[in-house]
């Protein structure tokens, strides 16, 4: 959609004047900053001792990828809510039992549903989520193609 807008904008002004370039540049910067701030953060400093560095790595990657069910847009590691702390303990225990990332994610999805993971499995209910953007991109390309051919 944005591509379309920029194209249309460029077409109307016939050429990319320096003013136009500046505007497009500013928009890009704003968008990239917005994208950066969406990154989930690590702010918690609970201590989870590990004897095995591989398990430690798995633990931290999991609590980074798993979502806090109570807070709407935070991962487990970025949240200090009681439920997040309980789930971190649960993940910690499962990691120490030697469970794999897939097993732990499945364990939590069984209880909390797909909401708990940031990359839900591809299934009928999540198709729009996974392929919706691609479909929109395809649609925009088709429309751009038609408009260009007309001219």
């Amino acid at each position: 959609m944005l591509v379309l807008l920029i194209k249309e904008y460029g077409k109307r002004s016939l050429q990319f004047t320096s003013m136009n370039k500046l505007i497009i540049f500013t928009i890009s910067i704003l968008l990239s900053v917005a994208a950066l701030s969406e990154e989930p953060s690590i702010s918690n400093i609970d201590v989870y001792p590990f004897s095995d560095p591989q398990k430690e790595e798995l633990f931290y990657s999991l609590i980074f990828e798993l979502r806090c069910p109570k807070c709407q847009s935070s991962n487990l590691s970025g949240s200090n809510s009681p439920i997040s702390n309980d789930l971190k303990r649960e993940v910690y225990e499962l990691v120490n039992e030697g469970k794999s990332a897939q097993q732990i994610e499945a364990h939590l999805i069984e209880r909390y549903g797909n909401f708990i993971v940031y990359n839900p499995p591809i299934e009928p209910a999540t198709l729009v989520l996974w392929y919706g953007p691609l479909f929109l991109l395809f649609l925009s390309l088709v429309i751009i193609f038609y408009i260009r051919r007309k001219k």
Binding site: M1, L4, P69, K70, Q72, P82, I83, D86, L87, R89, E90, I109, E110, R111, Y112, G113, N114, F115, L136, L139, S140, I143, Y146, I147, K150
Partner: protein, 173 residues
């Protein structure tokens, strides 16, 4: 045809905004209940009233039953408390409590003061059974049928309307 193509981006944009608005503005931030139709999880946790008594799934013996997640720090739980007392008085259905991440003293005081609608309360201080039930807040209420299968779950205050819409139907079966 060309005209349609010309305004297609606008139409798609408006459609997208409408779809996002409807889905994102849903007030109830409720998660899906994946545990419906699965059996109630096993547990082994102390009783609220008697720390020495260990409770397990076998102790939830009178089925069908309600499992109500509550805590003294949960304001909404106090709102539904009178309804649960009513239910205990007027329904054959037994209610079992899951006291969630609470202080024992405070919880016992509340039951003494406002009445105890529960057959017993499980003292889930660590929230372990709560995780197995996919609980993410209080109050939450589960309905278990006579085979020990979770049939219904309600997140939030349970009142007459919720009771009739979500739970009463199972008792007529």
């Amino acid at each position: 045809m060309n005209k349609i193509i010309d305004i297609a981006p606008l139409i798609i944009f408006v459609a997208l905004i409408l779809v996002l608005l409807t889905f994102l503005s849903e007030k109830e931030d409720q998660l899906e209940s994946v545990l419906i139709d699965s059996t109630f999880p096993e547990f082994s946790i102390a009783s609220l009233k008697d720390p020495k008594r260990n409770l397990s799934k076998k102790d939830i013996s009178e089925l069908p039953a309600l499992i109500n997640v509550w805590a003294t720090w949960c304001i909404a739980c106090r709102i539904e408390h009178p309804f649960l007392m009513d239910l205990k008085k007027n329904s054959v259905l037994k209610i079992y409590g899951l006291n969630y991440k609470d202080e024992r003293e405070k919880a016992l005081d509340l039951l003494k003061r406002d009445g105890d609608p529960y057959e017993f309360s499980i003292y889930d201080f660590d929230g372990r059974l709560a995780i197995d039930l996919g609980v993410y807040g209080a109050p939450e209420t589960f309905f278990i049928d006579e085979n020990g299968v979770i049939r219904e779950r309600h997140v939030g205050v349970i009142d007459k309307r919720v009771w009739e819409e979500k739970f009463a139907i199972y008792l007529d079966e």
